[in-house]
C-alpha cells in the first residue's frame, strides 16, 4: 500500500494516541500488583495490565515500521509533553473504585475502537485489531461484571461506583479528543473517527450503567478534559514517567 505523506502523518498520530494510552494505563494498572483487593482480582488486573503493555508494544512496532524509533526508545525516552495519551489514563490509581471505573470506561471505548479498526484500510492495524479482539473482549467482560457486582452490593459499594462514574466521566470524554488528522483518517478509511466511536461508546456504557440502577452524566463535550492528545497533560504524568523509566535510565544501552 502506497501511503501519501499526509496519510503517514495521520496514521502516526492515531497510533501514538492509542499506544500511549495503552502504555500509560497499563503501567498505572500494574501499580495494583500485590496491592489488589483480593488475590484473584490482583492476578486478573495485573494480567490485563500486561495485555495493555503488550498491545502498546505492537502498536509502537507499527510506528517503527512507519519510520519512528524502536519501541523501547519511544516508550522510555520521551518527556510528558511528547506523549499523546488522554489525561484520564495519567491519573494516579486512587481507590480501587476509581481504577475500576476507569478500566470500565476506557476498555469499552477500546473494544469499539478495535472492532472498527478490524476493517481498517491500513492492513497492519486491521490485523492487530483482529489479534487483540479476544483480550479486549475479556477486559470489558471483567469490567462490566465488576460494575454490575458493585452496583448491586451494599450502599457503600454503590455510592463509591456512582461517585467514580461522576468523577471519571468528563475525563473519559477526553479519550475522544479529536486530532488534526481526523478528516484524513476518515477519508482514507483508516478509522471511523472519534465522534462515531464516542457515540457508540456512550450508548454502550449508558445501557450498562442504567441497567444496574446507576446513573451516567449527560453527554456534554464542553466539559471534556482535553489537551492530552496535544501533549498538554496534568501534573500526574511526568512523575509517573520518571518512575517508569527509572531502571531504563540507569543504562539505556543495556540488553535485557
Amino acid at each position: 500500500m502506497n501511503l501519501t505523506d499526509n496519510q503517514v502523518a495521520a496514521l502516526k498520530d492515531l497510533l501514538y494516541k492509542m499506544a500511549d494510552d495503552q502504555l500509560i494505563l497499563g503501567h498505572r494498572n500494574s501499580e495494583w500488583t500485590g496491592l489488589g483487593p483480593i488475590l484473584e482480582e490482583d492476578i486478573a488486573f495485573s494480567s490485563m495490565a500486561q495485555d495493555k503493555i503488550g498491545q502498546a508494544y505492537q502498536l509502537y512496532s507499527i510506528l517503527n515500521e512507519l519510520g519512528e524509533s524502536e519501541p523501547d526508545t519511544i516508550a522510555f525516552t520521551r518527556n510528558a509533553n511528547q506523549f499523546h495519551c488522554c489525561d484520564y489514563v495519567c491519573h494516579p490509581i486512587g481507590q480501587y473504585d476509581f481504577s475500576l471505573v476507569r478500566h470500565f470506561f476506557f476498555d469499552n471505548a477500546e473494544l469499539i475502537k478495535f472492532n472498527t479498526l478490524a476493517s481498517s484500510a491500513f492492513d497492519p492495524l486491521a490485523m492487530l485489531a483482529r489479534k487483540f479482539k479476544g483480550e479486549i473482549k475479556y477486559h470489558t467482560m471483567h469490567a462490566n461484571t465488576w460494575i454490575k457486582q458493585l452496583a448491586q452490593g451494599n450502599e457503600e459499594s454503590k455510592t463509591r461506583i456512582q461517585n467514580s462514574i461522576n468523577e471519571g466521566f468528563n475525563l473519559a470524554l477526553g479519550i475522544f479528543e479529536q486530532g488534526t488528522f481526523e478528516k484524513e483518517l476518515v477519508d482514507s478509511k483508516f478509522y471511523i473517527g472519534e465522534e462515531a466511536v464516542m457515540n457508540e461508546w456512550y450508548a454502550t456504557v449508558k445501557e450498562i450503567i442504567e441497567s444496574v440502577g446507576l446513573t451516567i452524566p449527560a453527554l456534554d463535550l464542553s466539559n471534556a478534559v482535553n489537551g492530552g492528545r496535544k501533549g498538554q497533560h496534568s501534573s500526574h504524568l511526568q512523575p509517573m514517567l520518571t518512575e517508569m523509566t527509572e531502571v531504563y535510565a540507569i543504562d539505556p544501552s543495556a540488553d535485557w
Binding site: L35, I38, E40, E41, I43, A44, M48, M141, Q149
Partner: protein, 126 residues
Amino acid sequence: MIIKSLDPRVDRNEMDADATFGGLESMDQWQTYEVFHQTKRGQHHVHVGNVHAPNHDMALMFGKEQFARRGATVNLWVVKSADVFATDYADSDIFESTAEKLHRDAGSYKVMDRINAYKERVKQEL
C-alpha cells in the same frame, strides 16, 4: 510509624506499621467455586483448582485469569464447592476390589486374539 519501603507504591499508601489487624469475621471471604478447564471442544473438562467469588459470573471471570491465561482453552465450568458431594476418606476401602473376577476382565475374552491382531494391523497401517 509509617512503613518505609523501596517500593514507591507502598510509600504512597502511607501504611501504618503499628496498625493491628482486626481479624476475620465469617463471610469476610467469598465462597469458593471449583474450576474445570477444557482444552479442546469435545474433550473432558478437567478440574484445575478453585477461586473465591460471590457468584458464578465473577467465578467465571476470575477462573479465566487464574487457570486459562496460558495455554489453549475453549471452555470453563465453575461449580460451587458446596455443591460438590464427596465420599468419605474413611470409606476408601469401598474402592478395593478382589482380583478373582475373570468374568470382568476383558483379557479373558475368547476373541482377544482377534482383537489384538486387529490392533496390530491398524498400527502397522499407520
